[in-house]
């Protein structure tokens, strides 16, 4: 009986057909169609003219794109270490079996479930010049008020603050899960040696979760490279494009200026960057299982 069940049959494939139809039409086809679009000059009415790699040349020589890449790289370089470091700190601090720790874990994770619109609305209201919570705090401390969202340098920083507030839950939870998987006998041996807490942290705890720290870092790099909604809603990329990330560049070229080919070319470039990071993620996670 079990024999016939294991036998390969075309009829068995019927179970996967519904998903495969959606997968092929809404993921595989658009992926390749997007690549095709990046090789074309597309007009508003859907007409296309093959132009080879000319759109890529346009993107790569566009100073606005250069600025967007620079902004994104700076954003990733600053936000990812903060997210990983803070996540690690919270995981170490809240890895205990008390009700208070459980509540705090739930609290730190809770912002993750909010939509980008709500997160940015909250932070825009907090950052309003003169009347926002931040302005009140600054006034209380006797500091000069700052137009957080409209000053060069500060605008990308403010987007980063909102992003860290929004995204901190995931690194914390992943690192907590790793901490809980450290075998107890490792600690037992340390207890026999009467090792200090500091040594236990640097010699046992951190080395044991190192693969997960790496994994969390790569996941955050992939996620933060795709920064979009926070910048669009909080600063609209300004002032003078100093907080415009790559995805916002794609959005503006493809859906505001309807320069579809150019937007498609930019999105393929970002896709390659993200694919490299994702391959790194896969490599780290498979290596993690071997350890």
């Amino acid at each position: 009986m079990a024999e016939s069940y294991r036998r390969s049959r075309w009829s068995h494939a019927l179970f996967v057909v519904p998903y495969l139809i959606v997968f092929l039409t809404l993921l595989v086809f658009p992926l390749f169609w997007g690549m095709w679009l990046s090789l074309n000059k597309v007009d508003l009415f859907g007409g296309a003219e093959f132009v080879g790699l000319r759109q890529y040349a346009r993107v790569l020589s566009d100073p606005v794109f250069h600025q967007a890449v620079r902004n994104t790289v700076i954003f990733v370089a600053v936000s990812v270490p903060v997210l990983v470091g803070l996540g690690l700190f919270l995981a170490l601090a809240l890895n205990r079996k008390t009700r208070g720790a459980a509540f705090l874990r739930g609290l730190y994770f809770s912002s993750t479930i909010l939509s980008v619109t709500i997160v940015t609305l909250i932070w825009r209201i907090v950052f309003i010049p003169n009347d926002g919570l931040m302005a009140l705090i600054f006034a209380g401390l006797g500091w000069e008020p700052i137009g957080f969202l409209s000053t060069k340098g500060w605008s990308l920083f403010s987007v980063g603050v909102a992003t860290v507030w929004w995204c901190i839950g995931l690194p914390m939870m992943l690192l907590l899960a790793a901490l809980q998987q450290i075998p107890a006998d490792l600690y037992e041996a340390a207890a026999l040696d009467n090792a200090s807490k500091g040594r236990i942290l640097t010699r046992i705890t951190l080395p044991s979760i190192k693969p997960t720290i790496m994994l969390v870092a790569v996941i955050q790099i992939v996620m933060q490279f795709q920064l979009f909604g926070q910048a669009l809603l909080m600063t609209n990329g300004g002032p003078a494009g100093t907080s415009r990330p790559i995805v916002m560049y794609i959005y503006e070229t493809a859906f505001i200026r309807w320069d579809v080919g150019l937007g498609a070319a930019a999105s393929e470039i970002l896709f390659v960057i993200i694919l490299c990071a994702a391959m790194l993620q896969y490599w780290i996670s498979t290596r993690k299982e071997e350890v």
Partner: protein
């Protein structure tokens, strides 16, 4: 260490100072939210004179009442509900069927197809969104609920998750059912599917949250105001608030829009953490 049973690794790793710093930092997490809740309970005119008014009475629920009078916000809420529930049901159906087949049945090219689907996990939204927008344009599907639901159903994560879950069910269970000559679909439907309820809950909640919070796709697909989801609608009504015009009302909208996900979070926190963590690691 004479008494091994009393050993607990926590005593070696716990640090009271770290814990209290983490507890103190929670204020930073909470302060913006409390600020918004406070604003939402204040009269808009009073806030125009200065937001310090938050710290003193009177408080009012008028901003929340206005949401229900302002039918637009309520309509957006309905759109979000329809889209999120529809997408969730679609994902659960497609992924359960596919997950069962990948885990239990043999058919030509099974491994190849599964690996192809796994590659889908690596495709970010911006690599497909421009082409998708054109495709939906060809069929005149923009500004419909179905257009907002469909793209999310192509996500490979659900298939991956359901396949893992079906694999974890002991084979003896379906083999026993097969002795009674039950059809494959009946085994799937009557025997195995009830056993995957925890996975259905995890995937369902995860999909609901993603759909509810989706931003980019509804932003370009739903261009008519009456087709906005709550995410897009609230973003659109923020345009000129720098003059703190209607700050209380805006805050009330933010609270109202996040209520469903907050309620889901409070009741299903464990499922959400599992799903989000699993979704990130894949």
């Amino acid at each position: 260490m004479a008494d091994r049973s009393a050993f607990s690794p926590e005593s070696l790793t716990e640090n009271r100072l770290l814990y209290w710093i983490a507890a103190g930092l929670a204020v930073v997490m909470l302060a913006p939210v409390i600020w918004i809740v406070g604003l939402s309970l204040k009269n808009n005119q009073e806030l125009m004179l200065g937001t310090e008014a938050v710290f003193r009475a009177p408080y009012t629920l008028k901003n929340y009442a206005d949401i229900f009078v302002n039918s637009q916000v309520f309509g957006w809420f309905l759109n979000s509900m329809i889209v999120a529930v529809g997408q969730t049901l679609g994902v659960l159906t497609l992924c359960s069927l596919a997950g069962y087949a990948f885990a239990r049945l043999e058919f030509p090219f099974r491994r190849t197809i599964f690996i192809l689907v796994l590659f889908g996990l690596a495709v970010p939204e911006q690599a497909v969104i421009i082409a998708r927008h054109q495709m939906f344009n060809w069929f005149g599907l923009h500004n419909t609920h179905i257009a907002l639901m469909l793209p999310g159903m192509s996500s490979a994560f659900g298939v991956f998750l359901m396949t893992q879950f079906f694999r974890a069910i002991p084979r003896e269970i379906d083999e026993a059912a097969m002795l009674d000559n039950t059809s494959q679909f009946r085994i799937f439907w009557k025997v195995l599917l009830p056993l995957t309820m925890p996975a259905q809950a995890t995937l369902g909640i995860f999909t609901f949250l993603l759909a509810w919070n989706d931003y980019w796709w509804p932003l370009i697909s739903a261009t008519k105001k009456e087709m906005f989801t709550l995410t897009i609608g609230i973003a659109s009504s923020q345009t000129n608030f720098a003059q703190s015009e209607g700050l209380g009302f805006l805050s009330a909208q933010a609270i109202f829009a996040s209520l469903p996900v907050v309620i889901v979070y409070i009741f299903f926190q464990r499922h959400i953490v599992t799903a989000v963590s699993g979704g990130a690691v894949k």
